[in-house]
């Protein structure tokens, strides 16, 4: 009797222990068997150009996975897979070994299966052989705008360009749901419970026009090859808004095959990440300082020699000949270094630096692309008279192409510096649109001064070194610049960077453009490398935007 009672008490105690004391433990054990938590992966947002053409889109392609411990006949499966995936004899043997391991997991046998391969695998209907959908990024235009777009790495993280800068917004965030499932692993009806909502990635519309981008890239590539140059960049921007219409570099890469890139430098966008001593294309900016301050007018004249002595240094103009009496307009037309040193002396170091910073040099423009450099402006306290003199013709100061375009854009835009940007519109999955508004950074010059400098730059194209940048029927404002390249602190006599910066139509500009050809071998001067390319692209742009001629 006592034994039975004892057993009963023990039973009650055990039940109490299992059901009351260890309730939570056993509940979680049961939940582990019946409850599944699933991740609802957010879909990455897509990227379109200004006209809605896709630039970066998603593509779901299956991967082939095999679970070895679910395979009944490993030899048969390996043989069949070898046929479908065209495996070599060694690969087939390796697969056979892997399948015999009885493991719970082995890495996917192949990613991005073709339609034919998918059909064949489905027809075989083998146990333990699975087709798992995987998301991939596809860039339909291949190389076009690759350094603007960046790429998506194998971990699904955006690198460089838009993909890098807007990675969090494009990626969204995963949600989690909890479901009960039956013995076969199927979800039970109505058992889904949302633990956290999935936030889908946003779509982006760029300010980039893929047609212009394509044209510019093609022309730039041809020019780089023609001049046997090391590379080049072109930026086309709307000076009234700061919208970047095209931003091309060469060499470039195909983001669909980013893993084939040998030189990681190709991933960078030189138009925002690289800086160089701009040379003579910097002169209109220095001239604008003097004009805005009322120190000179376009018609102010002075007699200039072939050189000028500053402290212990003698500074020559590029042709080492005296231009004699020149107006300020002619100083720009002749690209006279000596005249520019004189202008710089009139401006003075303090005001020179004040305008440098107003133009945005020495600081990032804030463009919405990753990897932007602030350039290099030497601290004012370290600047000598010679340094100031050389800076007036674009030496001893390093700027990025996007800084240069923004600064000259201010001249084109009545003195107002605009913040450059490449994302025009952000659209959420539920259709909410956020349009990015143009942003005036600051007023750099008076509209009168800006207009005067624009007219002087027109004169450079009409009468100076920039003739090849002209477009018949239009007033084009511009300036050439053949910059020397410092190597270990000394300018290399065999290396130059040809540049041309300008805008058109000069007095109601549709675009401001910089063309830069790095270290061409077949020509020394920007007049015959960057200027003709500028003219060719300008002609295309004026036609493309249906801009009627502004001169008879």
């Amino acid at each position: 009797m006592f034994f039975v009672v004892g057993l009963f008490v023990a039973l009650v105690f055990k039940l109490y222990s299992k059901q009351i004391t260890q309730h939570d433990y056993y509940l979680s054990l049961a939940n582990n068997q019946q409850l599944w938590q699933k991740e609802n992966k957010a879909r990455r947002g897509q990227v379109y150009d200004v006209n809605g053409y896709p630039m970066a889109i998603n593509l779901s392609l299956p991967a082939l996975e095999i679970i070895p411990n679910q395979v009944t006949d490993s030899d048969y499966v390996a043989r069949k897979m070898a046929v479908v995936l065209h495996l070599s004899r060694e690969e087939e043997l390796e697969l056979k070994e892997g399948l015999r391991s009885n493991a719970l997991y082995m890495p996917p046998l192949k990613h991005k299966l073709s339609d034919e391969e998918v059909t064949e695998v489905r027809e075989l209907d083998l146990e333990g052989v699975l087709l798992i959908p995987e998301d991939w990024r596809y860039y339909p235009e291949n190389e076009v705008a690759s350094q603007i777009l960046g790429y998506l790495d194998t971990e699904g993280v955006g690198q460089y360009g838009i993909e890098g800068y807007f990675n969090a917004e494009l990626m969204g965030s995963s949600g989690f749901v909890q479901t009960y499932h039956d013995l076969t692993g199927r979800d039970l009806v109505d058992s889904e419970q949302v633990l956290s909502q999935v936030q889908q990635g946003v779509n982006l519309n760029l300010t980039i026009d893929r047609t212009v981008q394509y044209f510019v890239e093609e022309k730039l590539k041809n020019a780089v090859e023609r001049f046997q140059a090391e590379g080049g960049s072109v930026i086309v921007m709307d000076p009234k808004t700061g919208q970047v219409i095209a931003m091309a570099n060469y060499p470039t890469y195909n983001p669909n095959e980013y893993f084939k890139v040998e030189d990681y430098e190709d991933f960078n966008n030189p138009a925002v990440a690289h800086f160089w001593e701009p040379g003579s294309i910097f002169k209109p900016l220095v001239m604008s300082m003097a004009i805005d301050m009322g120190l000179v007018t376009p018609d102010t004249a002075e007699i200039f020699g072939a050189s000028i002595k500053v402290m212990d240094r003698e500074i020559f103009n590029s042709e080492r000949k005296p231009y004699g009496r020149e107006t300020m307009t002619q100083v720009l037309e002749n690209s006279d270094n000596v005249g520019m040193v004189w202008v710089g002396e009139k401006v003075g170091l303090d005001d020179f630096y004040k305008y440098l910073y107003k133009y945005g040099f020495g600081d990032e423009t804030g463009i919405d692309l990753s990897g932007e450099s602030p350039g290099l402006v030497v601290d004012k306290s370290l600047v000598s008279e010679v340094d100031l003199a050389t800076m007036t013709f674009g030496q001893g100061i390093a700027v990025t192409p996007i800084q240069m375009v923004s600064a000259v854009g201010a001249i084109a835009n009545g003195g107002y510096l605009m913040k450059p940007y490449v994302v025009d519109k952000i659209t959420t999955v539920d259709g909410k649109e956020v349009k990015v508004s143009p942003e005036v950074v600051r007023s750099v010059l008076s509209p009168t001064a800006a207009n005067s400098v624009a007219a002087m730059m027109v004169s450079v194209v009409e009468n100076g070194h920039g003739k090849q940048a002209g477009v018949q029927g239009y007033y084009v404002a511009g300036k050439t610049g053949t910059a020397q390249v410092p190597v270990n602190g000394v300018y290399d006599p065999n290396k130059t960077i040809g540049g041309f910066i300008g805008f058109a139509p000069a007095f109601d500009p549709k675009f401001v453009m910089l063309v830069k050809i790095d270290i061409p071998k077949t020509t020394e001067w920007a007049e015959s490398s960057a200027a003709p390319l500028f003219g060719e692209i300008a002609q295309f742009l004026l036609n493309y935007y249906l801009v009627p001629p502004d001169r008879v």
Partner: protein, 111 residues
């Protein structure tokens, strides 16, 4: 199980005979009814559960179909994007022997 019971009762000074049906269950009947009810409920539960499972399976199947259709749709979109790519268009146009525009003229229209 059902017994006829004769009830006599006085009402308003009248005597009336009434016959009423009275429901009563014996222990065996009770057991029988309980078993039948249990069986019925079990059957209903089984049917409902079965239906739920079938519906669940159908939903899973439909979700799968939906996913496949969406993937198919996405594939077409990707293919359309590929065909619309400028390099692709340029390649096709080259075979069409088209002339490029040599000059553009604007006409002044008086309003």
């Amino acid at each position: 199980m059902i017994q006829n019971v004769r009830i006599e009762e006085m009402h308003s000074g009248m005597k009336r005979n009434q016959t009423a049906n009275r429901f009563a269950l014996g222990p065996v009947s009770l057991q029988f009814v309980t078993i039948v009810l249990l069986a019925l409920f079990s059957l209903m539960y089984l049917l409902q559960n079965n239906q739920m499972t079938t519906q669940g399976y159908k939903i899973a199947q439909l979700k799968n179909d939906q996913l496949e259709i969406l993937q198919e749709n996405e594939k077409f979109q990707v293919e359309a994007a590929r065909l619309k790519a400028l390099s692709e268009i340029k390649g096709k146009v080259q075979n069409m022997e088209m002339e490029s525009v040599s000059s553009v003229k604007y006409l002044a229209v008086q309003k």
